[in-house]
């Protein structure tokens, strides 16, 4: 326990104090890293712990951000209602897609998650009267907790919004940590290792996978909600296959099956995308190269590399 506290303390301190030293642009980047980190961790629950390679995880992210944007813009601009609506929709879509996707295994699962996510992309792109298609929905207002809570600040500024996101990041990390170490999480890992054995042991494998699928969807929804506020804008690219693929490589680059790794992967990818975009428009090429290099040379990700070098106590 003491070790754990010691391991968690430095990054916590850094995340708490770093904003004071950053420019507003850098702070925005850090906020984005945390949001993508939540997204990557949610996918890791599926890929890393349950062994379900989803290629359509952006579906949940996207549906949540569209829900937040649409309810905030068209129905009622109330943080609690909008945020809950986003999570509920992500969960509902998770429950729906899970029913179909979990009838399949391995390669089929990959194809079906990709295809299902594409249905949502089709809606975001094609149903113009609701989503305004490719133009997206601009002007999503940041939640103004300032008034309803009587706090001296609103979330319009970068720093309060950063801490707002940080709270969700910490909550997600903690919750996922608890879930993974709970008996439930142990069963998921068992399913990853051998589904047949867990079945024989009497576990309702399908129900465990289904629950994990929905949970991962809801956590991805948290990220989607926050991102709609972060950008003040939603577009079909939030549901796109490229975004799903980016999330997948975040998890694998960091190290599937380690929460810390997924967050690390998200940070690295956001950083790279940002740095590289300054010099060249060939970001997809770089992303593709990362895919090839990581799958060939570092299948266990950065965390895996660290472990090889420094022994298994790391991370």
């Amino acid at each position: 326990m003491k070790r754990r506290v010691l391991a968690v303390a430095p990054p916590t301190l850094i995340l708490l104090l770093l904003p004071l030293a950053l420019s507003s642009y850098q702070l925005g980047l850090l906020t984005k890293m945390l949001i993508y980190g939540i997204f990557a961790m949610s996918l890791d629950l599926l890929l890393g712990y349950t062994g379900l390679p989803s290629l359509g995880h952006a579906a949940f992210f996207g549906v949540a951000s569209y829900t937040v944007a649409l309810t905030a813009l068209r129905v009622v601009n109330n943080f609690w209602i909008d945020f809950t609506a986003g999570l509920v929709m992500a969960g509902v879509i998770g429950a729906l897609f899970g029913l179909l996707a979990l009838r399949t295994h391995a390669t089929y699962f990959l194809m079906i998650t990709m295809a299902l996510a594409q249905v949502l992309w089709g809606i975001a792109f094609g149903w113009r009267s609701l989503t305004r298609g490719d133009d997206g929905l601009p002007g999503v207002p940041r939640p103004n907790l300032g008034i309803s809570w009587g706090l001296p600040w609103s979330l319009a500024d970068g720093i309060p919004f950063y801490y707002f996101v940080l709270v969700f990041f910490a909550l997600t990390t903690a919750l996922l940590w608890v879930i993974i170490r709970s008996p439930f999480g142990r069963v998921l890992v068992g399913i990853r290792e051998s589904e047949a054995r867990m079945e024989v042991l009497g576990y309702n494998v399908w129900l465990y996978k289904y629950t994990a699928f929905i949970l991962a969807g809801v956590f991805a929804g948290v990220a989607g909600n926050l991102f709609a506020y972060y950008n003040g804008f939603v577009s079909p690219s939030y549901v796109s296959i490229i975004f799903s693929a980016t999330a997948l490589i975040m998890v694998i680059l960091g190290g599937a099956g380690t929460i810390f790794g997924a967050a690390l992967g998200a940070i690295v990818i956001v950083y790279l995308e940002n740095v590289i975009s300054v010099y060249t428009e060939r970001w997809l090429l770089i992303l593709g190269a990362i895919y090839v290099l990581v799958t060939l040379f570092a299948p266990n990700g950065l965390v895996g590399l660290l472990r090889e070098r420094f022994g298994s106590r790391m991370a």
């Binding site: 390679p53 179909l100 390669t107 194809m111 990709m114 249905v119 090429l285 992303l287 799958t295 299948p299």
Partner: protein
């Protein structure tokens, strides 16, 4: 009535393109257990290469030959140098091909630009055929014919030749096939090349029908997935009938319910998936 016949013919010709793609995907997966996510990219590349060669030579046949050769070569290199390193690891291989999808998409955008382009149709097939009130471009008949010819050739290859016997052995039990003396590494290269060949043919034929543009790779890949999910992985018959079905559904969906076009494809897919998770003819 005219409307229905024309739309049906459109759907069938599109279905034949999907068949070419799905047959390759299915074959590659059946034998090598590799889900080739770059399959749509091979299609796209075939279309673009054909376009370039057509511009210089004005010969459709030459363009087809060059595109097929180029894409097949690339596939052989891909299989020999990279995919081969991680045989037996399905997820890693799928992710690897995903990397190629991005790389090819990016390079194609760089080289050929972002505007949709259409390959000129071969001279003999630029006109339309007229039968009573039905006017139908003859090129679409060519696409249908090519699809059927390829289908028959593949069936013959698989069922009637020694190579086909090896392929079937590889699909059923790769280890056993190796045990009785099938040179599986070479077989794998051959199968991957054959899949790429089919995708390239589809790319050139489709390029003259639907055009080539950034994003076409994802589009055809997804539809080929649906074909396979409906028809079943590893089944030639499944790819053929699935291709026809998806081609028809896609076409009628777009014609009848433009805003909900995707649903006409995905709803049947969901139903089939719910009843038969391995597809109509799936063996895997």
């Amino acid at each position: 009535m005219t409307f229905w016949i024309i739309q049906a013919l459109n759907g069938i010709s599109f279905g034949m393109l999907l068949f070419l793609l799905a047959a390759g995907l299915s074959l590659i997966f059946g034998v090598m257990k590799v889900l080739n996510l770059a399959h749509g990219s091979l299609y796209l590349l075939g279309g673009y290469l054909g376009l370039t060669v057509l511009r210089f030579t004005n010969s459709f046949l030459l363009a087809l030959a060059a595109a097929v050769l180029g894409v097949t070569l690339l596939a052989v290199v891909m299989e020999r140098t990279v995919l081969r390193r991680i045989y037996g690891e399905e997820l890693r291989q799928a992710l690897l091909t995903f990397g190629f999808l991005f790389i090819i998409a990016d390079q194609a955008l760089w080289i050929w630009g972002g505007n949709p382009q259409t390959l000129p149709k071969p001279q003999a097939f630029t006109r339309s055929l007229q039968m009573g009130t039905i006017v139908f471009p003859s090129y679409r008949f060519l696409v249908i014919a090519v699809g059927i010819v390829m289908g028959v050739a593949l069936w013959w290859l698989q069922e009637r030749t020694r190579l086909g016997a090896m392929i079937r052995a590889g699909v059923d039990d790769e280890e056993m096939a190796r045990g009785i003396g099938v040179n599986t590494p070479r077989l794998f290269t051959g199968v991957f090349a054959l899949g790429a060949f089919l995708a390239a043919v589809g790319g050139v034929m489709g390029g003259a029908l639907l055009g080539v543009y950034p994003g076409a790779d994802f589009e055809v890949l997804l539809l080929a997935f649906v074909v396979i999910i409906i028809g079943g992985l590893g089944s030639l018959k499944g790819a053929f009938l699935g291709g026809l079905l998806v081609g028809l559904l896609d076409n009628f969906g777009k014609a009848l319910f433009p805003e909900l076009a995707l649903f006409t494809i995905f709803a049947p897919m969901a139903i089939i998936l719910a009843i038969r998770p391995t597809g109509l003819f799936g063996r895997l």
